[in-house]
């Protein structure tokens, strides 16, 4: 849970920098275009280029190296696993073979290419999400999604869930600490019983909090729907940013596809 509270936050996105000042809709549109280009690429070069650009940008904006490492650790593991598995499970042209524990393992040309491609797509895609969430607070991302057509009810639930996740995470941390000092996690059996109690407590508190939240919202004029004010019109600058980003993405995509088939 401590690990989660360390990386599950948009605290860094609230800092002031060039990318954070851009309109969230512009950033979301560019991020979606980058993701589409990453999964449509047929060569690992383009997704790896996206990875380089995004991680460099995040580091240049001052995102702590530890946070980057924590966020990229699981995708790196997945990418590595996919590379190994595809290399030996797909394709038919042998490239290299060796015996491991008496079993012959053959790496194929097609499998290696598939593995590299999928692994690069994973890393490229994750780095786009990482950069987006490093320069845009959650409520702005949800606002942009609403402006781009996401259903109002869904966005309302998203905002409520995000807001109260931190309240409940704090509660969970407090209850867990109290259970630990009472040896609540000494042994599997007691640990599971404590986990059940913890889950039940969190659910009960969430429902109590829901009553209080609803009362507070009613006092502020809530009548069943959270009002979303009209978003300002996109500035000419944002239009230029989207156009330049689309042009750059398109050029790099086709260059990578043509030069590195």
């Amino acid at each position: 849970m401590s690990l989660l509270s360390g990386i599950f936050s948009d605290l860094f996105a609230r800092q002031d920098n060039t990318l954070a000042r851009l309109d969230a809709r512009t950033k979301l549109i560019v991020a979606l275009a980058m993701l589409a280009a990453v999964i449509f690429s047929t060569t690992p070069v383009f997704p790896l280029g996206i990875l380089l650009v995004c991680v460099t940008a995040a580091a240049a904006l001052g995102v702590p190296a530890r946070l980057l490492a924590l966020r990229l650790a699981a995708p790196l593991g997945i990418a590595g696993m996919l590379l190994v598995l595809q290399s030996v499970m797909a394709g038919s042209t042998p490239l290299w073979s060796a015996a491991l524990l008496g079993v012959k393992i053959t790496v194929t040309r097609e499998g290696l290419h598939n593995g590299l491609l999928i692994a690069s797509r994973v890393l490229g895609g994750v780095s786009v999400m990482l950069l987006l969430s490093s320069v845009t607070p959650a409520h702005r991302i949800f606002g942009a999604m609403r402006a781009l057509g996401a259903p109002q009810g869904w966005v309302e639930i998203a905002m409520l869930m995000y807001r109260y996740t931190f309240v409940l995470l704090e509660l969970t941390g407090d209850v867990t600490s109290a259970q630990k000092v009472r040896l609540g996690y000494a042994g599997m059996r007691r640990g599971l019983a404590s986990a059940g109690t913890l889950g039940g407590t969190v659910l009960l508190r969430s429902m109590d909090q829901a009553v209080r939240t609803h009362e507070a919202m009613r006092v502020r004029g809530y009548s069943g729907e959270i009002p979303f004010g009209p978003m300002p019109k996109l500035a000419r600058r944002d239009g230029w940013i989207v156009a330049v980003a689309a042009l750059a993405l398109g050029t790099l995509f086709y260059a990578a596809e043509a030069l590195c088939p």
Binding site: G77, T106, M207
Partner: protein, 249 residues
């Protein structure tokens, strides 16, 4: 060819065992699904999310308190799904899905909505799952997990099982159903030298060392949660229709 398949399955098994954090992540990572499969899973998921939003709108119109409650329960289930639980076979910790638990309380349609939000939050702020794979993850975790858990709970309550027993089975089967669906989704996306069924079986097999015990643990925790609530606040379960689900008394 047979040796090749055996080697692949063996390596898959070893890889998952060696990378328990990967196995523990129940979401398909960003970029794994090719465009056509990503689009297909979105097409499958969207009607279910729309159905859930329709149900929320109807119930919110009757009771304005309902929407904040769904949001808060969603946040609670999200937090519970991040609770580390020990997996002895992998020698590490993993996380419960939480969809079975939520489906018992707010029903499967709303659980799909809550899961879609939780999956997006995890993709954005934890790098678990992704935006292009959101559709696939909603199908496996939100739709299959929630409807399986809800159905198992109601059928077993109707059969006369006590609340905690039905909750155990709901948590267990929703977890296993989620992973079985994830295996099918991955097999459809990852090319292999064998058939689709062979690939699905190999991936499913590789999940087993962690998922069989993890499903049982998720069942135990779901049972513990509902037992706790039924002792501390039985009126709440009656109010939400959980205590009398499936016609149980």
């Amino acid at each position: 060819m047979k040796t090749r398949k055996l080697t692949g399955a063996l390596l898959l098994l070893l890889a998952v065992a060696a990378l328990p954090s990967t196995a523990g992540a129940m979401h398909i990572s960003e970029g794994i699904l090719p465009p056509q499969w990503a689009a297909l899973w979105f097409a499958v998921a969207i009607p279910f999310v729309a159905w859930g939003l329709r149900e929320m709108k109807i119930r919110s119109a009757r009771e304005p308190f309902f929407k904040p409650m769904v949001g808060l329960i969603g946040a609670a289930v999200f937090v519970i799904s991040c609770m580390p639980i020990p997996v002895l076979t992998a020698g590490t910790c993993s996380h419960p899905c939480g969809t079975g638990m939520a489906a018992i309380l707010i029903g499967p349609a709303l659980t799909v909505v809550v899961s879609s939000v939780a999956l997006l939050l995890q993709a954005l702020f934890l790098s678990h799952g992704g935006l292009t794979t959101l559709g696939g993850n909603i199908v496996s975790m939100g739709i299959v997990g929630a409807y399986t858990g809800w159905a198992v709970f109601h059928v077993t309550r109707r059969a006369g099982l006590p609340l905690w027993g039905a909750a155990f089975l709901a948590g267990l089967f929703s977890d296993w159903a989620t992973y079985a669906t994830t295996s099918v989704e991955l097999a459809s996306a990852l090319p292999g030298s064998g058939s689709f069924l062979h690939m699905a079986a190999a991936i499913g097999l590789s999940f087993m060392p962690t998922q069989l015990p993890l499903g049982i643990l998720e069942g135990v925790i779901t049972a513990g949660v509902y037992r706790f609530i039924s002792v501390r606040r039985p009126s709440l379960l009656e109010c939400l229709g959980v205590a009398t689900a499936g016609g149980a008394r």
